[in-house]
Structures are given as structure tokens and as C-alpha cells.
């Protein structure tokens, strides 16, 4: 039996049966626009079956990843709604089956197993936190379950996971930090102190940013690792050397706001240049009291939280569909700030999946069909910017199962983030560490 509270379904007609009306009026407007725009995918290639495509969604509903999980779920529902309104995937409606993993690696592996053995989904998708991905991926490989993560971590592209794991919707950390280093070195300073969480995700930052800085004439003079369960941060801050030009910070979990506030209390108005990953303030309002010191500092963003005046139509469309206003907050509650620089990955991954299923002629979760599907993803090379890829164009490396996109550097001005630099995709390309396509299925 399935616990009804753990499972939510989207019916084929596109109406949400269980979730609260998460996308608000904007989504309705977006849906209407989508109907006009979307081609009738099902029309040309008549599917042999009309049974739904079942997508298992491994969500961080609870635990330390809940703020991300909430928004991943909203975006995923909005994307499924849009896909279904346009005729589904290969003429088949999409059914979403959501299970909470508690942002816990052990439960993550159990969720993957449940998706395969109880729900019989076609693919599993949506995991964010890197320790959960690393914990779940081996089980996905054993169960031969295509597993599409939206995690950022370098673990997929490291080719240390397995052939069943893909990350086509979001650029990995290694690529992100590489593309940041030249700008940081040229505009902010050469001597960098890094503060990062002491686990896989933070180590990716530490290792790859330090290397990239060195390649651009900079130097990481101190690396301050903070345990991911830490709730008090002031005691780490004296370790920041006085000669630091740039303070580089990235933090995750429920303690992020405390971390940034204590940074402000420690330094006051006299601080080195500050460059942070927006992860330190995802789902947090920049205008929160105590964060005034961030004025004039810089953040990496994957997808600018504050919409610029010259944003393309696809940006407005996406914001309407997922229920986010021009300031990056929920349209129904302006205090509910989105995880804007990560959640687009869910949207984009679902469209990659759609393209791959339609291109491969995938029918059912048989070994032969799964192989066709995964080979179709591996054969992809580019994603065009547009409604399916609102964050921008990307290139995809089938050997690494990883996509590479543009990144942004934004400056805090008037408690808002204003993009000042957009990287080229080439800035974030690196020598591949391996090749998944040489592994057997």
C-alpha cells in the first residue's frame, strides 16, 4: 500500500488534485499562454500506448533541504502541468509520484527503491542535496533506474557514480566556480579566504575554486571548513586572515541566515570584498534586518532572482508558470522567497526527459527501452534557450552526463541583486575525468 500523504499525483488533464494552488493566478495565465504556444506533440507520432509516463520525484520535503524541496516541488508541478497541457510526452500524459526523502541519504536510497519496486516509475528525478544523491545513486544503478538529479554537485560529472545517473538541468559546481575565478581575481582581489560546509558539496568548492584562482594569478590563503550541522558561526570568523582581499562564502542548511548575520556582526562596515554563492541566502530575503552589510558585495547566481527589464519572454513565462514575482518571491506570499538559482533545473530536466523519450521511442520501463532512453540523452549536445530552458542555452556532455550553462555575478544594490557579469559557457568547461558511455548498462 502507498501512504496517501506521501504521494501526490497530477492528473492527465493538468489539474492539480492535491497540492494547494501553488502557482496562483500567474500559472493560470501561463498555462493559457502555453496552450497557444505549445505544439501538439502527441499528434504526429501516435503513441502505441496512452498509459501515463510515470516520473518518480524524490523530494526534500523535510529535513535540512526543505526550503529547496518546497520550491523544487512547485516548479516540478508547474512543468508537468505545462507539459500535460501541451499534449504530454509522446502523446502520453505525465503522472508525478512524489516521495519525501527527508534530505537523508539512507532514506534517499529507500525512496529510489520504492519508486522502482512499488510505483514502477519510468524514471526517478529531482534530488538536490549531494549527500543524498551520492547515497541514492548506487541503488539506482543496481535497480537499473534512470536517475535524473538536479543537484549541482560535481559527483555526476566526476564519472564516479554510474551510467544511470544524469544531470542535464543544472551546471555542476566545478564548472560554476571555474567560471567565477577569473572575474573574482580581476575585479575583487587576489588573496581569497574561503568558508564552506565540510562535506562533498563544500569540498567541490574548496578544491576547484582554489585551483581556478591559482590559474588566474590569485591565491586561496585560508580554507575554513564548517561542519554542516553547525548552528553558531562567530567562533570560526577570527580564522579569516587580516590580509584577505576577498571573502568567499558558501553555506547551506537551516543555519544559513545565522551565518551571514554573524558575518555582518563580526565585520560591521569594514570588511574585505565579499563574494558569496547565493546558496548562502537561497530562500532568504536580502532585505532581512542584519544583512545591510552585504550592500555592495557580490553573489554568484545561476538564474538572477530579480528580473531585469530586458528579460526575454521565456523568463516572464517561466515566472508566471511557477508562481514567482519579479523579486523572486512567491506571488501568493511575498515573504516566501524562492530558491531561484537552483529550481529552474527541475523544469529544464523534465523537458530534456521529454525530448529524450520522444526521440528514443521509449515505451515502457523494460531494459531495452531504458537503454534507448539513456542513449538518447547521451546523444544530446545542446539545449536552446527558450521556454523549455528559461535559464539560458546550455551544452551537454553525454560522456559526463552533465550540462554546462552560463553563470551570473550579481551585486547587492539597494538590498536587491543586480547582475553585473554573465559568463560564457566556455569559461566553465574542463577536461573530462572519464566517460560513462563506456560503462555497460
Amino acid at each position: 500500500m502507498t501512504d496517501p500523504s506521501q504521494v501526490s499525483r497530477v492528473d492527465p488533464l493538468g489539474g492539480l488534485t492535491r497540492r494547494r494552488l501553488l502557482t496562483g493566478l500567474g500559472a493560470v495565465a501561463g498555462l493559457a499562454a502555453g496552450r497557444r504556444w505549445a505544439p501538439r506533440w502527441g499528434g504526429a507520432a501516435q503513441a502505441a500506448t496512452s498509459a501515463p509516463i510515470k516520473i518518480g520525484f524524490q523530494a526534500h520535503r523535510t529535513g535540512i533541504g526543505a526550503a529547496y524541496g518546497r520550491w523544487y516541488e512547485r516548479v516540478t508541478h508547474a512543468a508537468v502541468k505545462f507539459i500535460n497541457a501541451g499534449g504530454g510526452i509522446a502523446g502520453r500524459p505525465v503522472e508525478l509520484i512524489t516521495e519525501d526523502d527527508g534530505t537523508d541519504p539512507k532514506r534517499g536510497a529507500e525512496v529510489v527503491e520504492k519508486m522502482a519496486t512499488q510505483h514502477h516509475v519510468d524514471v526517478t528525478f529531482g534530488t538536490l542535496f549531494s549527500h543524498v544523491v551520492v547515497g541514492s545513486a548506487p541503488r539506482a544503478g543496481e535497480l537499473k533506474m534512470p536517475y535524473f538529479v538536479v543537484s549541482e554537485g560535481y559527483h555526476v560529472a566526476s564519472t564516479k557514480l554510474n551510467r544511470y545517473v544524469f544531470q542535464p538541468g543544472i551546471t555542476d559546481v566545478r564548472s560554476q566556480v571555474m567560471s567565477m575565478a577569473p572575474w573574482v581575481s580581476n575585479h575583487l582581489g587576489k588573496k581569497v579566504t574561503m568558508i564552506f560546509p565540510d562535506y562533498a558539496f563544500g569540498h567541490d568548492h574548496r578544491d576547484f575554486f582554489a585551483t581556478a584562482m591559482a590559474a588566474h594569478g590569485g591565491e586561496v590563503i585560508e580554507k575554513i571548513a564548517i561542519p554542516p550541522t553547525e548552528r553558531s558561526f562567530a567562533k570560526y570568523l577570527p580564522k579569516i586572515p587580516r590580509q584577505t582581499d576577498v571573502l568567499y562564502h558558501v553555506m547551506v542548511g537551516p543555519g544559513v541566515l545565522t551565518f551571514v548575520k554573524e558575518l555582518g556582526e563580526f565585520f560591521g562596515s569594514k570588511h574585505p570584498e565579499i563574494f558569496g554563492f547565493i546558496d548562502s541566502l537561497e530562500a532568504v530575503d536580502i532585505a532581512t534586518p542584519g544583512l545591510e552589510f552585504l550592500e555592495g558585495s557580490y553573489f554568484w547566481e545561476a538564474h538572477p532572482r530579480y528580473m531585469s527589464a530586458d528579460a526575454p519572454e521565456s523568463e516572464t513565462f517561466y515566472r508566471d508558470a511557477v508562481g514567482v514575482n519579479h523579486e523572486g518571491a512567491s506571488v501568493s506570499d511575498p515573504k516566501d522567497i524562492s530558491t531561484y538559482s537552483h529550481m529552474f533545473g527541475c523544469w529544464e530536466t523534465l523537458f530534456v526527459l521529454k525530448e529524450a523519450i520522444e526521440a528514443s521511442g521509449y515505451q515502457s520501463p523494460t531494459p531495452a527501452d531504458k537503454q534507448k532512453l539513456m542513449e538518447a540523452v547521451e546523444a544530446m549536445t545542446t539545449f536552446e534557450a527558450g521556454r523549455e530552458h528559461p535559464q539560458g542555452d546550455k551544452i551537454f556532455n553525454g560522456k559526463l552526463h552533465q550540462s554546462f550553462g552560463h553563470q551570473y555575478i550579481s551585486k547587492v544594490e539597494g538590498a536587491k541583486l543586480k547582475p553585473v557579469h554573465r559568463t560564457a559557457i566556455e569559461d566553465g568547461l574542463y577536461e573530462p575525468a572519464g566517460d560513462y558511455t563506456t560503462q555497460s548498462f
Binding site: 526550503a67 553547525e230 562567530a234 567562533k235 579569516i240
Partner: protein, 293 residues
């Protein structure tokens, strides 16, 4: 940073940890001292205090101090009422059997935690501090509110000491702790004392949580750390000993601050746990505890 200022910051951080920890652990110690039960759900009362503080402060607009004052009063009262109810409905029916109550309070832990998750949700939510001034030392700045936390905690600790040592209620509590049967023979309503003490223990945890929540955010999983640290503190200090609890809280809080700053936070935890083991082996009653009669 030079050694002196570094030490100052470590000491300040340690002091804040120690102050809040002393309040929380005192609640646990009080419950054990009087009732002889180990309340595993103590950390969840702490968490409830923080979550309710968020609720109270978001009720009121205007100056954040108003909402905070409301939380400081309302939150411990509600947590106390919930603890009182739990005592009446669960612990009393188990006749305060030491083993059964451990299992029961573990159950209580999960019930409270999951209820908070269902009602309050999984987000970490901030509470604005009642005061926002910042103290600028020549080397670094420090939140004025954190020093306020230390001051208020000391006041609460003194008040608790006064109630226990100098009032009739305290006398009754001490009598019950000393010898339950004799106290009953002298017409002390032991049953009601137990309910009151359990509620008071939870209220101390809730007060500590209200104080800490403007520094950390309210989150449904925040009860675990204070529970573990409280256990460490009461084992080292001696279960049921007020003096020992305060002393051990200072020891653990300060050493956590210092060792974390100069070496690593993991080492601080290792040493604290090692100290617990040493105390259990060489002085099982704790540094200030008395040998059970």
C-alpha cells in the same frame, strides 16, 4: 587575528553557549532530581519554545521587542501547559517507573517533533532580535543581543535558585526530592509537585529557546543538540544538582567555544564526550552530585 582578541571572542561565544545551556540543562536536572525520571523529550520542549516564539513574534507588528516580550511570557506558559498535560496523561499513569518513562518520553519526543513538522513545517524561520545594537571592539564586532542573552540567562538562573532555596514551593520540592514517602506523610501533595516540576523543567527549556531563537532560527529539528548537551552537562555536574549543572554548563560551553576556535569543533565534542565517560567511570554521581541514599 592576534591571540588576545581571538581568546576574547572565543570566551564570549562560550559564555553565550554556557548561559543558554545552563538554563536548558537545569530543566532536565530539576526533573530528574525531583521525579527521578529521565526526560528524553526535553529537547523537543526546547524546540517548541522556539517555534512558539516565532508564532508570537509574528502575531505582533511594530517594534520587535514587543513581540519578543510576548514570546518570553507566552511561549514558556504554553510549553509548560503541554508538559503538564503530558505528565498527567502519560507519566503519572506509568507510576514514574524509570524504564517505562524513558520509553514514553522517547515517544513524546517523536510526537512533538512530528506535530511541529506537520503544523509549523520544515522551514527554518527567523525571529527578529528585540535589540539590534552591535558592540565594536577594536578587532571585531559582536552582537549586543548575545550579551543580553547571557545577562537574562543569569537572571533566570538566580530566580530559579531563589525559588528552590528560599521559598515554600522550593522547600516542598526539595522535601519531595529528599524522601518521597516521608513528604507524602507530611501531607505534601507529591502528585501535584511532580506535575509542577515537570512543567517547570519544560518551561526552563522553552525560556532558553526563546532567548536563542533570534540568534539561530526556529526549526523542527533543533531539539537534538540541546538535548545531547544537556545530558552531558547533567551527567558531569551531577543529576539533580543545581550548582553542578551551572558549573558543568560553564565548563562545557566555554571549552566548546575555546576548543572550537583554536582547534576544531569536532575535537570539542570528542573531549566533552570523553569527559562524560571519565566522570561516569570515576565519579558516577557527577562532580557535584551526592551519592544516592
Amino acid at each position: 587575528m592576534d591571540f588576545g582578541p581571538y581568546l576574547l571572542l572565543a570566551a564570549l561565544e562560550g559564555l553565550v553557549t554556557a548561559a543558554v545551556l545552563a538554563l536548558t540543562a537545569l530543566g532536565l536536572s530539576l526533573v530528574f532530581g525531583v521525579m527521578r525520571i529521565v526526560n528524553v523529550a526535553h529537547g523537543e520542549f526546547f524546540m517548541l519554545g522556539a517555534v512558539l516564539a516565532w508564532g508570537f513574534t509574528s502575531l505582533l507588528t511594530g517594534h520587535p521587542a514587543l513581540g519578543f516580550a510576548l514570546a518570553m511570557i507566552g511561549s514558556p506558559l504554553i510549553v509548560g501547559a503541554i508538559a503538564w498535560l503530558a505528565e498527567r496523561l502519560v507519566l503519572r499513569r506509568l507510576h514514574y517507573d524509570p524504564e517505562a518513562t524513558i520509553v514514553a518520553t522517547i515517544g513524546l519526543l517523536y510526537i512533538i517533533q512530528q506535530l511541529a513538522l506537520s503544523v509549523y513545517g520544515p522551514e527554518a524561520r527567523p525571529v527578529t532580535a528585540p535589540v539590534t545594537f552591535r558592540i565594536q571592539f577594536p578587532w571585531f564586532g559582536y552582537a549586543g543581543y548575545k550579551l543580553l542573552v547571557v545577562g537574562v540567562s543569569i537572571l533566570f538562573l538566580l530566580a530559579t535558585w531563589f525559588v528552590i532555596a528560599r521559598t515554600r514551593i522550593g522547600l516542598i520540592m526539595r522535601a519531595t526530592q529528599y524522601d518521597r514517602e516521608t513528604a507524602q506523610a507530611f501531607a505534601i501533595p507529591v502528585d501535584r509537585v511532580y506535575a509542577g516540576v515537570f512543567a517547570a523543567g519544560a518551561m526552563l527549556a522553552a525560556m532558553a529557546a526563546v532567548l536563542i531563537v533570534p540568534i539561530q532560527q526556529a526549526h523542527y529539528l533543533m531539539g537534538l543538540d540541546p538535548l545531547l548537551l544537556s545530558f552531558i552537562v547533567v551527567i558531569i555536574g551531577g543529576l539533580g544538582s543545581l550548582k553542578g549543572t551551572v558549573f558543568a554548563a560553564l565548563l562545557i560551553g566555554m571549552s566548546d567555544g575555546m576548543i572550537s576556535v583554536f582547534f576544531s569543533p569536532t575535537l570539542a565534542k570528542i573531549l566533552a564526550t570523553l569527559l562524560v565517560a571519565l566522570v561516569l567511570v570515576y565519579r558516577p554521581q557527577g562532580l557535584f552530585g551526592e551519592v544516592a541514599q
